[in-house]
């Protein structure tokens, strides 16, 4: 059995896989190095791979206006991102920026589809874990939406006050 990279044992996505499955998976991943400040993929790029962070950190942001992006989240070693690219052809929904020099593992969509064909049990375990992570991220997104609204309300001074409108009802 070929050696299993340490990082694969730490990734939540693969935590249900046995050693044999991990050993089979390892050769299918591509290692990539990125320097700080570079962009891994941009919003609206073609979407075709998932990335696992072994070293460094990645900031995912969404374009707001002009040169300004809003930071959505950060990924540290053991985290993964870009998972939507495994399932659909839609362009990237956000930009992944390398914050500090990083070492990433790339899982291409084609390879993922091969796993489905040849190792359906392994694919099912990965998908189950993906769904639970999707749910967790959805909850975080809801919180972010609420925080963004609160930010807007505080920044613009809006407050739901008591009745302050003026009127005269002659009786």
């Amino acid at each position: 059995m070929p050696p299993i990279p340490d990082i694969l044992n730490k990734v939540v996505l693969f935590q249900d896989l046995h050693a044999e499955s991990l050993a089979a998976l390892a050769p299918l991943l591509i290692v990539k190095k990125f320097t700080a400040g570079t962009v891994i993929f941009r919003e609206m790029d073609d979407s075709d791979a998932l990335y696992i962070v072994e070293q460094g950190s990645v900031v995912v942001s969404k374009h707001v206006s002009g040169d300004v992006d809003m930071v959505l989240t950060r990924f540290a070693p053991g985290d993964f991102f870009g998972e939507m690219g495994l399932f659909d052809d839609a362009p990237r929904s956000a930009t992944a920026n390398v914050e500090t020099d990083s070492l990433l593992w790339q899982l291409d969509r084609g390879v993922f589809h091969d796993i489905f064909s040849h190792h359906p049990e392994m694919a099912a375990k990965i998908c189950y874990r993906l769904v639970t992570i999707f749910i967790e991220r959805l909850r975080v997104t809801n919180e972010q939406t609420r925080d963004a609204i609160r930010w807007g309300l505080e920044a613009t001074g809006y407050a739901s006050g008591s009745q302050s409108l003026f009127g005269r009802k002659s009786t």
């Binding site: 040169d67 300004v68 992006d69 930071v71 930010w151 505080e154 920044a155 001074g157 003026f166 002659s170």
Partner: protein, 407 residues
């Protein structure tokens, strides 16, 4: 208090590799926020007469949403600066130069009022914010809200009130607003006063006659009160039309949440003169005075019996109604109160007085620190309290007269 909300922004400089991340607190952004009022064609502002303190209030009307806002001189100054080009930081500095002091609470309060009146450029997330606020409500607050909703169900409004009143005014309503009609009302009232004096020695017999037929007397009195109350608000509305202003609503509601009554929303008269407002206020009670006078004159002509007693009773009831309506010191915002508030140029006198009431004992320890307006509020509170007490005592006596078993 919760920490200010934060946003992380990622920016890139053109031509440079890499990026910067900035954390912006909502409070920081607040200083940079540039409030923008709705376009000029969407609002109208009218200066109100000066109050005893020499202060001037303004009414801002949202022409698109038909909402009105009462703002003071300092707020009017801020309103002028809310043109979308000045940040709150700049506005605060300008305000400080002008008035010598500044408190951000003034801006916060004004912004909240303007959002509510729809006078600032719309925020898309308003509806969502309200939904969130609702979901966080406590059970007792929800209970109170539900109770208030039940009360509100009693309320109704007449559709197309302005069109209805405009038509009514054109087809005869205008006749009510001329010196001849007023002179006629005065003559009839004087004659009715003489008739009432002539009949007053028989008041005890009238009371006994009415007490002998309680259903008939109660029904007749309620019916006449109802009919006259409807005429009363219609005449308010017609007076508003006489000055070319809009009648926003006519309907039925609970005045100050307790007193079921008909109403005409004549807020638009604030875009006219003080004289116009006083005339609109006076027009309503004159209906009770006129109808009550007719009842007294009819009672004078009627032969003795239940009919005469009923007419006399209706006359007393309507004149009393006119008096209550015109009497300003009863804690209710009736016509007399509106007239006094207008003459004093303190359109929120009652609300201000009620805010002052809980701190009165503390404030009276330093009377020299009280402003002229606050003395007026204290006088209002005092007169209201005494008047309500006298009214209750007088009516306990009246009830005793109606129910012989109390003697």
């Amino acid at each position: 208090m919760a920490e200010p909300a934060k946003l992380q922004l990622l920016t890139r400089k053109p031509g440079e590799a890499g990026f910067q991340i900035h954390e912006i607190e909502s409070s920081q952004a607040y200083f940079g926020y540039r409030p923008q009022r709705v376009p000029n064609e969407a609002w109208e502002m009218t200066a109100q007469p000066r109050s005893p303190d020499g202060r001037r209030n303004f009414i801002v009307k949202n022409l698109r949403r038909d909402r009105y806002l009462l703002i003071d001189g300092q707020e009017a100054f801020l309103w002028e600066l809310f043109d979308g080009s000045h940040s709150l930081e700049e506005i605060a500095r300008t305000f400080h130069h002008r008035f010598g002091a500044f408190d951000f609470a003034i801006i916060r309060k004004l912004l909240a009022k303007l959002y509510q009146a729809g006078l600032l450029v719309e925020r898309e997330n308003l509806a969502l914010q309200q939904t969130l606020a609702r979901s966080q409500a406590k059970f007792w607050a929800m209970g109170l809200t539900n109770a208030a909703k039940c009360w509100r169900r009693l309320s109704f409004t007449v559709p197309h009130a302005d069109r209805f009143c405009g038509t009514l005014y054109r087809y005869g309503g205008f006749l009510l607003f001329n010196p001849v009609t007023f002179g006629l009302t005065v003559i009839i009232t004087l004659l009715a006063g003489a008739a009432a004096l002539h009949l007053s020695p028989q008041a005890k017999q009238f009371t006994q006659a009415l007490a002998a037929k309680p259903w008939l007397s109660t029904g007749a009195m309620l019916a006449s009160l109802l009919a006259v109350a409807m005429m009363h608000v219609t005449v308010h509305a017609l007076a508003c039309k006489a000055y070319g202003r809009r009648v926003r609503e006519i309907g039925f509601f609970l005045l100050q949440g307790v007193l079921p009554t008909f109403y005409a929303d004549v807020t638009d008269i604030f875009m006219s003169t003080r004289r116009a407002r006083v005339i609109v206020d006076l027009a309503g009670p004159l209906v009770e005075l006129f109808c009550g006078s007719l009842a007294f004159l009819a009672a004078y002509q009627a032969s003795p019996g239940v009919g005469q007693a009923l007419l006399f009773g209706v006359g007393v009831l309507l004149w009393e109604g006119a008096l209550i309506n015109l009497y300003p010191f009863n804690f209710l915002e009736l016509d007399g109160y509106n007239i006094v508030a207008d003459l004093l140029a303190m359109p929120t006198l009652r609300q201000q007085a009620l805010v002052l009431a809980p701190q009165l004992h503390r404030r009276l320890l330093h009377p020299s620190a009280l402003t002229k307006s606050e003395w007026i509020q204290i006088a209002y509170l005092l007169l209201c309290s005494v008047s309500v007490l006298i009214y209750l005592i007088a009516h306990l006596d009246f009830l005793r007269g109606l129910l012989p078993s109390w003697k």
